[in-house]
């Protein structure tokens, strides 16, 4: 074997390792396939095991590798109280709506948005469907349920997938107080629980800052 062939083999092995790491830490292949889906594509789920991912750096435990975060779209906000975001792939099959169940969000402002592939490619001509925290109807215990499906629904909270079978669900939380517990909702595709609820305890926030107001001299 020539030196060039050996180097090519080493490069291939290194590339495979990098792809495996990015897949393990950021679901690289799901993200790439999602971005490249044609508008309105149907078919099977891009993954059977979606995860919460975040473009924010640590201490967000769902932080994806920096190169993926950059590729997903630049400019996430600081996770230190300014914003806390996470997203996950969802498969919206006919007759099998996505069901999200969560708890009231302890922050000044929160938002749930459903992106389609064309939004991530910058080709969308309309804004993605979204719901703000103050548009959500809560149950007496402070919980909420949200349905994303193709069929008509009488659910109190619903997002219209507009015929799309593949979406990227994004949750953003602005300005939480120092030490709050942040609840991640549970997500079901039809009856199947794909993402269990979880809580991140005592998030750190640096807002609002203390100190005097500086003015121009």
């Amino acid at each position: 074997m020539s030196l060039a062939a050996w180097l090519a083999l080493d490069l291939a092995i290194a590339l495979a390792i990098v792809v495996l790491v990015l897949q393990y830490r950021g679901q690289l292949l799901t993200l790439l396939r999602f971005r490249s889906l044609p508008s309105g594509a149907a078919g099977r789920p891009l993954t059977r095991r979606p995860r919460w991912l975040s473009t924010q750096p640590a201490p967000n435990p769902d932080a994806i590798p920096r190169v993926l975060a950059q590729r997903m779209g630049p400019f996430p906000m600081t996770p230190h109280g300014g914003d806390w975001n996470f997203f996950s792939y969802v498969h919206i099959a006919p007759g099998s709506p996505v069901r999200i169940h969560g708890r009231r969000l302890p922050c000044r402002h929160a938002n749930i948005t459903l992106y389609f592939p064309e939004h991530l490619r910058g080709e969308a001509k309309s804004l993605p469907p979204s719901l703000d925290a103050d548009q959500i109807h809560y149950a007496d215990d402070g919980s909420y349920s949200l349905t994303i499906g193709h069929e008509p629904t009488d659910a109190a909270n619903a997002l219209d997938p507009a015929g799309h079978h593949h979406g990227m669900l994004a949750l953003r939380h602005y300005l939480f107080e120092d030490g709050v517990d942040l609840h991640y909702p549970e997500v079901r595709w039809g009856e199947r629980l794909v993402l269990p609820a979880r809580t991140l305890a005592r998030l750190r926030s640096v807002f609002p800052h203390r100190g005097p107001l500086r003015r121009r001299a």
């Binding site: 030196l3 050996w6 180097l7 080493d10 490069l11 092995i13 290194a14 590339l15 390792i17 990098v18 924010q56 750096p57 590798p65 920096r66 190169v67 975060a69 950059q70 590729r71 997903m72 779209g73 630049p74 400019f75 996430p76 906000m77 600081t78 230190h80 300014g82 000044r108 402002h109 938002n111 948005t113 992106y115 939004h119 991530l120 910058g122 969308a124 804004l127 993605p128 979204s130 703000d132 994004a170 953003r172 602005y174 300005l175 640096v206 807002f207 609002p208 800052h209 203390r210 100190g211 005097p212 107001l213 500086r214 003015r215 121009r216 001299a217």
Partner: protein, 182 residues
């Protein structure tokens, strides 16, 4: 070649490949941001905008929260501070964040409560020598970068272009202890 040489080559490549990829994506993002800036402002170069002008952020390629609107600006605080002043309109959230060349956020950021200056206006300083004032953004970690001013759920988002914030360098001589305003 021995197995150890191969392992060494593979290890170097495993470290180098993500760095190369990261650099390529960073350059692509920077090009995208620069193109946007030049298209929106009509400026001839990015340098013409540094520390001078903020422009409306309407580029759909940034895939941001659809309820958020605002401005982007480029800054260089290696020699001077930069003061950002403007209108603080009725909105649910206001913040100024700074980003490195990889489009990743700095830890420092300010929100409406930090920068409210009265009369419906805000004032914020980007500085590498923070004095402890609440409206300073410490950019020691990112002395050159991109800033984003966000307004979430503005009551009248269609007026965004009427409230373009102003940018001005603040000379080192102007850097005095902050006046204590409650």
């Amino acid at each position: 070649m021995s197995v150890f040489v191969h392992l060494a080559v593979i290890a170097v490549l495993v470290i180098a490949l993500p760095l190369v990829l990261q650099e390529l994506v960073a350059r692509r993002n920077a090009r995208m941001v620069d193109e946007s800036a030049l298209a929106y402002t009509g400026a001839r170069s990015r340098e013409a905008l540094v520390n001078r002008r903020a422009h409306v952020n309407r580029d759909p390629r940034f895939a941001q929260n659809p309820a958020v609107t605002g401005f982007i600006f480029f800054y260089d605080c290696r020699e001077t501070d930069l003061v950002v002043e403007g209108v603080l309109p009725a909105c649910r959230f206001f913040g100024i964040s700074v980003y490195d060349r990889y489009s990743m956020p700095g830890e420092a950021m300010v929100i409406d409560e930090d920068v409210r200056a009265g009369d419906g206006r805000f004032i914020a300083f980007l500085t590498t020598r923070p004095s402890g004032a609440r409206n300073e953004i410490d950019v020691r970690a990112i002395p050159r970068g991109t800033g984003i001013i966000r307004y979430s759920h503005m009551e009248r988002p269609e007026t965004i272009e009427e409230i373009e914030p102003s940018l001005a360098r603040v000379a080192a001589g102007d850097r005095e202890p902050p006046k204590t305003t409650p």
